[in-house]
Amino acid sequence: MSPHAIEVRDVVKRYGDFTAVDHVSMDVPRGSIYGLLGPNGAGKSTTIRMLLRIMLPDEGSIRVLDDDVVRLDVDRIGYLPEERGLYKKMRVGDVLVFFAEIKGVARGDARRRAGQWLERMGLSDWAHKPVDELSKGMQQKVQFIATLIHEPELLILDEPFSGLDPVNANVLKDVILEFHRKGHTIVFSTHMMEQVEKLCEHICLINKGRVVLSGTLASVKKQYGHNGVTVRFNGDGAFLGTLPEVASFQDHGNELFLRLRDGALPARILDAARGRVEIVRFEVAEPSVHDIFLERVSES
């Protein structure tokens, strides 16, 4: 048994002249929470569709759960597509039972599980209503239940948090963590970096179809060094980015993240800033995933 739930090697996918995925390789360790990051149109969804055998790659190989993706047993995977899809006219309970059944769950079992999940998500009263009478947030939760009702070993979630209010996002996060503790592997794509920071152990950043960064969250941050400072201030701090010690910076308006050159001292920045702007907060910090993301995307 491979230590990786997913192994992607040199995968290429083209749509006509456009190369959506360009020699992508990635390993998703078993039992990890793996974040697939990238701006819109980076090739995340195409990659995910290939992992699910919805599409086949033009080049390269994909192994999922110890088997070539072509022979993949899809029942072991749960997939939440980016654009949610449920049968609008079907009753909520029937939709869940149907989705469970086509993942190999017996009918009686599927009914029982659907009932339990609806109860947990606070949707029991809606089980016999048609899907289109539910609010968007409720439909998202139903779709989420459909993704994991068959207890898959591998969960692939495309933008699971988009469009959810904080309360429901939290419910979702708890379920994801529960699956993680039971040893299931979870891959999710997102561009919401706070979620990545909180949840992921591994990340892979894709831009324009190529992997620009990957590894454990800790190693990625280490790779970027701890040599950064966050300065929050009142006044015009634009000059801070032009200081000789600064390698690059992210401007957040009232706050700047400055990445320093190797060997540069944070104290020099503080000295330079003092007197020219009113400093509210000065912090020697590791870069956030957000900063790394923005930096790498603008570079590549």
Binding site: R49, R53, G85, K89, M90, I102, A146
Partner: protein, 423 residues
């Protein structure tokens, strides 16, 4: 066998729809009503007595009409109480116009139900009037047409010195009735109009069933693509499971509907021997079997095409253009129907029935009309099955490639390209 779950879902969701239940129950009722209602209505017109005035300028017509109208009600009373007004010109002048006007006023006042005005010119041009407030009593109108006509003719003959009863006996028209002999040697009464109506109704039912269920499949695929349910499905099923599941599931729903209609029709037809009212519905039981057979075959052929159309389109308007294209060959048999009825065994009819796209409707029409030779039926079914095989293979390939494509509707050329790709 995941395909079973798809079949079950398609079947249950289709059969549960309100429109399904309504149309399944309503169509037989409407069809039956179409035949039976006019007869039924005339039977149930309530009985009553009519007060009739005949304003007679000819002379002798009024008393003759009164004598002829001996109809009685169930109570034994006379149905028509006839008052004859002799309005021949006399010493005081011509009173016809005045009498007529006065009687019309009486009708208006509700004192009289029917006024028959017979001017003297009726002897030449035959024009008379039937004046009433309630123009719905068609059978009563017909009764008066006959009686007044006879009375006027009698006057004309009398003027020539001829005996009316004698002339009438001698001029009884020849009656010719159509009989159709079936393969089993059974004889059915037929009329050209009834024949045409019957064939037309069966062909229309078949046309509507194939079209609406084919569209149902096409629409459900476009909807699944639109709502992206398709991605969840394809991460759980193969495109083949999905396609077969839809064909079988939706087909079974269509079959259910048609079986209800067929059984209803069969019941009517069986009852037609006993109940005179249902006589026009005397149809060979095998016809219902053929209706279902040709529905199944036609559905498979056209649905495969509708499915391919649905798979390559992302929006309903896009899909409609393809649907229009597919519907065209279905209209040909309907247009050919009139020619077909006149000569269902012509080379034209036989040829048309062997073209698989036309077979279901044309063959069904021919079977109702004349019971064609068995070899023709068998050959048409074999050709149809072969075509269905190719259509399904074609649809499966287009389906596999097209199903995940979003955005612009592809050209036919691109579809052919995919077809080759999918090998």
């Amino acid at each position: 066998m995941k395909v079973l779950h798809v079949i079950r879902r398609e079947y249950v969701e289709n059969v549960r729809r309100r429109s399904f239940i309504v149309s399944t129950l309503l169509v037989p009722v409407v069809m039956t009503a179409f035949f039976v209602l006019p007869l039924l209505l005339s039977l149930f017109v309530p009985e009553r007595q009519y007060r009739v005035v005949v304003v007679d300028q000819v002379g002798g017509v009024g008393p003759e009409v009164a004598a002829s109208l001996a109809d009685t009600l169930k109570s034994g009373e006379r149905m028509y109480v006839v008052e004859s007004v002799d309005a021949r010109p006399d010493a005081t002048g011509d009173r016809f116009a005045d009498e007529r006007a006065a009687r019309i006023q009486a009708v208006q006042d509700g004192e009289v139900d029917i006024v028959i005005a017979v001017p003297s010119t009726a002897l030449e041009d035959g024009k008379t009037e039937y004046i009433t407030r309630d123009a719905r009593g068609f059978s009563i109108f017909e009764r008066f047409t006959d009686v007044v006509s006879d009375a006027v003719i009698q006057r004309r003959l009398a003027a020539e010195g001829l005996d009316f009863a004698r002339v009438k006996t001698l001029s009884v028209p020849v009656a010719m009735e159509m009989r159709q002999i079936g393969a089993a040697g059974d004889v059915r009464e037929r009329s050209f109009i009834a024949e045409y109506a019957l064939v037309f109704i069966f062909v229309m039912i078949l046309y509507m069933a194939i079209l609406s269920w084919g569209m149902t499949i096409s629409r459900s695929i476009v909807e699944e693509k639109g709502s992206r349910v398709i991605e969840v499905l394809l991460s759980s099923l193969t495109p083949r499971d999905l396609m077969v599941g839809k064909l079988v599931g939706v087909g079974a729903a269509g079959l259910t509907q048609l079986s209800v209609w067929g059984l209803g029709g069969l019941a009517m037809s069986t009852a037609s021997g006993a109940i005179a009212l249902l006589a026009p519905l005397d149809i060979a039981p095998a016809v219902f079997g053929y209706l279902i057979l040709y529905f199944l075959l036609g559905f498979l052929l056209y649905s495969a095409l509708f499915m391919a159309a649905g798979a390559v389109c992302s929006t309903e308007p896009d899909a409609q253009q393809f649907q229009g294209l597919i519907t065209m060959p279905m209209i040909v048999p309907i247009m050919a129907l009139f020619l077909l009825i006149q000569n269902p065994s012509s080379t034209f009819a036989v040829t048309l029935s062997m073209i698989p796209l036309f077979t279901p409707m044309i063959m069904l029409a021919r079977i109702i009309l004349l019971e064609p030779p068995v070899w023709q039926i068998v050959l048409s079914v074999v050709l149809l099955l072969a075509t269905i095989y190719f259509a399904v293979v074609f649809a499966a390939r287009v389906f596999r490639v097209g199903i995940l494509l979003y955005g612009k509707r592809p050209s036919l050329r691109e579809m052919v390209h995919w077809y080759k790709l999918a090998k």
